[in-house]
Amino acid sequence: MRKRVVITGLGVVSPNGVGLDAFTNALKNGSSGIRHSKVLEELQFSCQVAGEPIISDLMKEEYLTRLQLRGFNSTGILYGVIAGIDAFKDAGLKINADEVDWDMSIIFGAGTSGIDKFREAIYKVDEKNVRRLGSSVAIQVMNSGVSAYLSGILGAGGQVTTNSSACTTGAESILMGYDLIQSGRATKVLTGSTSDSGPYIWGGFDAMKVCAYKFNDQPEKASRPMSESANGFVPGSGAGALMLETLDSALERGATIYAELLGGHVNCGAQRNGGSLTAPNNEAVQRCIKTAVKNAGINAQDISTINGHLTATKKDSIEVQNWKEALEFTKDNFPPINSLKSLVGHGLSASGALESVASVLQIKEQFVFPNANCEDIHPDIEAMINSTSVPTKMKELDVDIVAKASFGFGDVNGCLIFKRYNHS
């Protein structure tokens, strides 16, 4: 029999709020985390605004020891460690310094790791000074660095790994956690994903001319998913974490249950049928969404709200069309759809996890957060769905089921179905 998987803890490090309370408030108020970036300006990027979480030195010391912080230069690991520890503690779990929890796994995704640390190391190596790297490089630049730090801190003794699938990474990590629980190999899985911040991770996208460059003097206006004046995505970063657990374990511990993860699906368009390394095969996208709904055992019409990928590029209209066709909605019964990227930018490998935390919070607090900067909804989208389906103000709603999807370079797709847990 299929095991029921619930979410018992959340952690979030977002450009518009670090910690659950700050993030929830930011979502409800539609507060933007997009700011002008001095570094990007100095380096003459086309896009000079970005979403970066604000973390004080004092806060770093609450999560990492002074020794761990010596020579530490990895934003991705920092964000992931903060989000991961917060989710663990939010689930009501206690760190035991002497014991290993063999039934707890960690699948924490990342696109890169320690890219700033890697840069430091490259300079030293090229100066023929490899001997001066010290012990802090290897552990920070390995992609699984974030999972390695977390398992040591939290005492997780099951499978501890890092997945990577571009901007689908976060959604994939959550589904991999779900599968691990289904297979009986874990009772709890800390899932989520993180992304480094800064010019070395964002440069490649700036060079591809896919980033917003028309709003450098109005940072909060720059990220405009589904809007006619959308002009590319705003680079972002951060981390989101979700503690997945069997329903039995959650009930036994008396844990708070935020929502149930009914299931989902991941697939790849194989760069066929219009898909490429950077563009989606629409057939694959629709197939992914449909299969997720089928795996979750729900009817599409039961979906209360959709949290899209919606990056604020030309592809937004196509994404809305894919949702509409895959779920067989009409113009009039299309549910509210929103994009977190309007508030925090595109968190790349972190986006799926950040957005899943936001999706689960919408279930817990029964609301739909607003799409910022979408007063001028794109005509192609307005031709398909009613403008009321793209709320620009926070909307209180009876949120029972959220469908959340992420799409990534490599033509990869992921879709998750979250449902309110009915406490009986």
Binding site: R66, L67, R70, G71, R132, G134, S135, S136
Partner: protein
């Protein structure tokens, strides 16, 4: 440089890596970095690099391997300083 001075400088260098603060409070020439101070073996490299910075010396691989105790570390430092 006097031995006490050297020891004090080495203590300052080692301190951030120490996991057993109690053993550190009674540090002596006989103190072993890994067994007594519970320094992570990977961090011994960092201790050696910090020593290089502090004394402006270069420690070759063979000498680094010797730096497992306070006594052997002081010997390496003294020898390198004498060669300067």
């Amino acid at each position: 440089m006097s031995d006490t001075n050297l020891l004090e400088k080495l203590k300052t260098i080692v301190e951030p890596y120490v996991q057993n603060k109690e053993a550190f409070s009674t540090i002596s020439e006989e103190t072993d970095f890994i067994n007594d101070l519970k320094i992570n073996s990977a961090n011994l490299i960092d201790v050696a690099l910090d020593v290089e910075d502090e004394f402006d010396i270069m420690i070759e691989n063979d000498d680094m391997d010797k730096m497992l105790t306070v006594k052997s570390s002081l010997e390496v430092i003294e020898q390198k300083l004498a060669e300067k």
